[in-house]
């Protein structure tokens, strides 16, 4: 079977895969064979009433592809949820952040409280009208100096921080932990 006969069989999809692949490689290299492919396709189109056109666009198309730097688009990857969107990551991340912050606050508190620690219970925040109020226990036992007792150490900003931390779990974006609040607080500090 010569190449042209092989091409005829290829038009009909009647070549075994190995033979088909070998012929395709030859047609890619030899213009005479690819032209036979085109002509047989044209005859096939005429018999199928597929409006055969004598116009050969292939030369124009391939010339256009050669002349412009074609960058093939990267294959689209299946959509993956970002790591931070996964529920368990958000939950544990939020808890870890909250724990770190609590630990940090506690350490700062301890440092400031020495040598006259004041027992401040962050959780014991109640509303007084529309304003949050922090209950501070004026524990003075063992103080070396009464002047250092920080009974008014919590200014308005500190009160707000304590309130927001304590109520973060009830916010709409509780899943995000205290991150939104920390972000806002950080911006406020920058300003």
């Amino acid at each position: 079977m010569n190449e042209r006969e092989q091409i005829s069989a290829l038009v009909d999809g009647e070549l075994p895969p190995a033979e088909r692949d070998a012929l395709v490689r030859r047609m890619e290299r030899e213009p005479a064979l690819s032209d036979t492919w085109r002509r047989f396709q044209l005859g096939h189109a005429a018999l199928q009433h597929e409006a055969p056109s004598a116009v050969d666009l292939s030369a124009r198309v391939m010339a256009a592809l050669e002349s412009e730097p074609v960058v093939l688009a990267p294959r689209a990857l299946p959509q993956q949820r970002p790591l931070w969107r996964k529920t368990w990551v958000r939950a544990t991340g939020g808890m870890a952040l909250a724990a770190s912050l609590t630990l940090g606050v506690a350490m700062v508190w301890q440092t400031n409280a020495t040598p006259n620690p004041v027992q401040v219970e962050i959780g014991s925040i109640i509303r007084d009208g529309s304003h949050p109020q922090v209950l501070v226990a004026p524990e003075v036992a063992g103080n070396d100096s009464a002047d250092t007792i920080p009974q008014v150490a919590l200014n308005d900003t500190d009160r707000e921080s304590a309130y927001m931390l304590a109520h973060a779990e009830y916010s709409e974006r509780a899943d995000d932990g205290i991150t939104p609040y920390a972000r806002v607080a950080g911006q406020s500090e920058d300003q």
Partner: protein
């Protein structure tokens, strides 16, 4: 379109995806008549249709890396052609035909019904002449060549089925169909050189 023809398309697509650009030339040669006729139904101008068809193939080439074979290659190409033709019309402020051409045509084509349209880029004349030349060539063929080619082209039978009907080896069927095609090719040569 037979499964083996679709397999060939996928094999050619795989070659292109592997970086063998000439394999795309073979796909263009295979489908250019159908795509040109399809686009002509939108733009109604031969030269415009050629330009839009060229753009269609270039777009297809660029997007081919994302072709996964979920649909037949021709269905995929058909969609690109329709979108390119519609974009072409919109860009020129021309009306896009509502229901003249639809994706359903491509689906029908995949079901085995060829896209049939007498509106051709040549305005019907040359295409019609080509078809007449092909049919004239077939009519003048020796009976065994004519039967083999008609069973293949009109009835879509496999070589094996034709061999059974004609009571001859598959190799003989392949040879007869090839010789018939050679005769047809001789008859259409004058139109190809116009």
């Amino acid at each position: 379109m037979s499964a083996s023809e679709q397999e060939l398309d996928l094999a050619l697509v795989a070659r292109v995806q592997q970086g063998h650009k000439p394999a795309f030339d073979l796909l263009v040669k295979k489908y250019q008549s159908r795509i040109l006729a399809l686009i002509y139904r939108f733009v109604r101008d031969r030269h415009e249709a050629e330009d839009v068809a060229q753009e269609t193939f270039i777009r297809a080439y660029k997007a081919l890396v994302n072709f996964r074979g979920d649909a037949a290659f021709y269905t995929w190409l058909y969609r690109i052609a329709i979108n390119t033709a519609k974009n072409h019309l919109v860009a020129r402020g021309r009306r896009v035909p509502d229901s003249d051409v639809d994706l359903a045509d491509a689906e029908h084509f995949d079901d085995g019904n060829a896209l049939r349209d007498n509106d051709t880029p040549e305005g019907g004349a040359l295409s019609s002449e080509l078809e007449q030349a092909v049919h004239k060539a077939i009519a003048s063929l020796p009976q065994e060549l004519k039967t083999a080619l008609m069973l293949r082209e009109f009835d879509g039978l496999s070589y094996e089925d034709i061999a059974e009907i004609m009571r001859c080896p598959v190799g003989t069927v392949r040879s007869r169909i090839f010789r018939a095609r050679e005769e047809v090719d001789k008859q259409i040569s004058p139109w190809l050189e116009k």
